[in-house]
């Protein structure tokens, strides 16, 4: 068959089935051409554009701390607390209404075990003891004198996306299903610096990290991780860590499950073995098919989620859309993200937005021409270790459906004829 070149002069390359286009489309300028082609030539407005009220009077005065627009009040966390409590549970980040990679501090997800303590920084102390040569006490003022480092790192609760272990797809969207994930720039003192000042006893293999909240949240951490890239974080996205994220200081263990990044850090005890706290035995262990439970699964495996389109954001008219989302791995950088519009039958490479940082979220984007018909959107991340995000069915075949934690399988959004977007299994 002879190709008719003239009939598709601005048609971009199809990268995969059901309308997925080459990831370089937006960079090469082809989008304008096909965007224009898709827009019907509607009648022109007959009235002059109005000059609005806010251009005819002085604006509002300065404030000491900026707040979002009152028109964006729906860009907010959602939360649930345990029966009879007001601050014991989780709040979730509205990724379907955000873009970029950094989570604003007021929207960072939370998991509290007995509310947020109101800590006076003058009274707060960090104690380092146990298997050390010199037990030491640090004040916040003292830590402020230490050399600091910044790390852009995601924190993800190990229970994020756990709803996908369920037999049937929960009729929910990005925020309630995948909202226990956030990413921030954390700045603080390397924990290794403080441990070396205390002098590490060679018998020490673990440390216990404990918070100053009412639950005394505590977790055991391998000493090797502490010496590698752990921070005692004092700043979050440039400002003092928020109370809801550990003010005046928290432990940051890049890539490790959220629970281990102990907030309101008050004590580090070096030990030979793990302490077997509540949260490393009765919680954060994965029950397998055979009745045994996996313990000490710390790093979050490679994962990705499409944030737009997603449930709650109805599609408009058929035409060009950007599929975008987040990808991350606790084992390093994201190497590639693939996107499918036909439930995994075919895949197109998504564009990865710079910077692509280790143990941070990476924003991916993929141009898609939606024809108005049914589609099933999926994303699949591969990290620099070569690990590929598994399908939901493979993950459950390997691990069973009772593990509750560390769900990193592929999630699917179904788009119906007419544009309704739903959580589906595919």
């Amino acid at each position: 068959m002879r190709k008719n070149k003239r009939s598709v002069p601005s048609e971009p390359e199809q990268a995969a089935g059901n309308g997925l286009l080459d990831r370089r489309l937006f960079l090469t300028g082809g989008a304008a051409a096909i965007g224009n082609a898709a827009v019907p030539n509607t009648a022109r407005a007959t009235e002059a554009l109005p000059v609005e009220q806010w251009m005819k009077m002085p604006g509002s005065p300065f404030t000491v701390y900026g707040q979002p627009s009152r028109y964006t009040s729906k860009v907010a966390r959602i939360f649930a607390s345990a029966p009879g409590t007001t601050g014991t549970g989780t709040s979730r980040t509205p990724h379907h209404m955000l873009d970029g990679t950094i989570t604003p501090n007021g929207l960072h997800f939370e998991r509290h075990h007995n509310g947020i303590p109101d800590i006076d920084p003058e009274a707060h102390r960090l104690l380092i003891h146990g298997l050390v040569k010199r037990p030491l006490i640090f004040t916040l003022d003292a830590l402020m004198r230490y050399p600091m480092e910044s790390r852009i790192a995601f924190i993800e609760c190990a229970g994020n996306s756990a709803l996908l272990y369920q037999k049937d797809p929960a009729p929910l969207g990005v925020q309630p299903i995948h909202g226990l994930l956030s990413c921030a720039e954390w700045t603080g003192v390397r924990l290794a610096t403080l441990l070396e000042e205390a002098g590490i006893d060679p018998r020490a293999q673990w440390l216990l990290a404990e918070g100053a909240d009412a639950s005394g949240m505590s977790r055991s951490v391998p000493l090797a991780k502490a010496m590698d890239d752990a921070l005692v974080a004092i700043f979050q996205n440039g400002e003092p860590v928020r109370p809801s994220n550990g003010y005046p200081m928290r432990l940051l263990l890049p890539g490790y499950e959220g629970d281990m990044n102990v907030k309101w850090l008050r004590r580090i005890k070096l030990t030979e073995g793990s302490t077997m706290t509540k949260d490393e035995t009765s919680k954060y262990t994965m029950l397998l098919n055979d009745g045994k439970s996996l313990q000490f699964c710390f790093a979050q495996e490679a994962k990705s989620v499409i944030t737009r389109p997603s449930p709650g954001l109805a599609m408009g008219a058929p035409g060009l859309y950007e599929i975008t989302g987040l990808a991350w791995s606790g084992y390093g950088r994201i190497a590639k993200v693939e996107v499918s519009a036909d439930g995994g039958a075919s895949w197109a490479l998504a564009a990865l937005q710079e910077p692509v940082l280790p143990k941070a979220v990476t924003r991916f984007r993929s141009p898609w021409r939606w024809d108005g018909g049914p589609a099933t959107l999926q994303s699949r991340a591969t990290d620099e270790s070569g690990y590929v995000q598994p399908s939901r069915s493979k993950l459950i075949a390997d691990r069973g459906g009772r593990a509750n934690y560390h769900f990193n399988g592929i999630a699917s959004w179904g788009i119906a004829q007419g544009g309704e977007v739903k959580h589906v299994y595919a």
Partner: protein, 176 residues
């Protein structure tokens, strides 16, 4: 020699003395003495290290439980509105709906003591005396069949309790 040079010389002597492994820092940690540490050092190891003096029996624990725990954890640890503490043994087996309780899931009795003392009751944490903690832990262990009616829990007996799911855990390794 200027003050700065003197400090630098002192610092490099220190670094050499420690094999040069010291990370650079201003060394502003204040030495902590054991008396200061004691009130904060509340974590309990599986071998019982850190357990305080004191003791309690299931019978004594029932009174504590009824007064302080029952409203959230239900009659005899049956759960509701909050976590179920008793029962579920056998529910981890293949094909079952798992009911994770102290009796069916928790591998160490020391963890129960550690957690109750630091975190419970939720509306008044750290209010129980050590004797009361031993007693209420004994009561929960008794309800789960892990100890006998007249067993007294203390720093020696608690770590020796063999929890039903003690061997139920395997260490994660990537790729499994």
């Amino acid at each position: 020699m200027s003050m700065r040079n003197a400090l630098l010389a002192a610092w490099s002597a220190l670094a050499v003395g420690c094999g040069g492994a010291l990370a650079e820092g201003p060394n502003l940690g204040k030495p902590a003495i054991p008396d200061e540490i004691a009130s904060w050092d509340v974590s309990i190891s599986p071998d019982g290290a850190g357990l305080p003096a004191g003791s309690g029996t299931p019978q004594q624990g029932e009174q504590v439980y009824v007064a302080k725990c029952l409203a959230c954890h239900g009659e005899k640890g049956a759960g509701k509105p909050n976590d179920q503490l008793v029962g579920g043994q056998g529910s981890l087996q293949p094909g079952q709906v798992p009911i994770k309780t102290v009796g069916s899931f928790w591998p160490y009795a020391t963890t129960v003591f550690d957690y109750v003392r630091r975190a419970m009751p939720l509306n008044d944490p750290k209010s129980l005396r050590d004797d009361e903690v031993y007693a209420v832990v004994a009561y929960i262990l008794r309800l789960n069949g892990a100890i006998a009616e007249n067993d007294k829990m203390d720093a020696q007996t608690l770590p020796a309790v063999r929890m039903p799911n003690r061997d139920g855990f395997v260490r994660f390794s990537r790729g499994r």
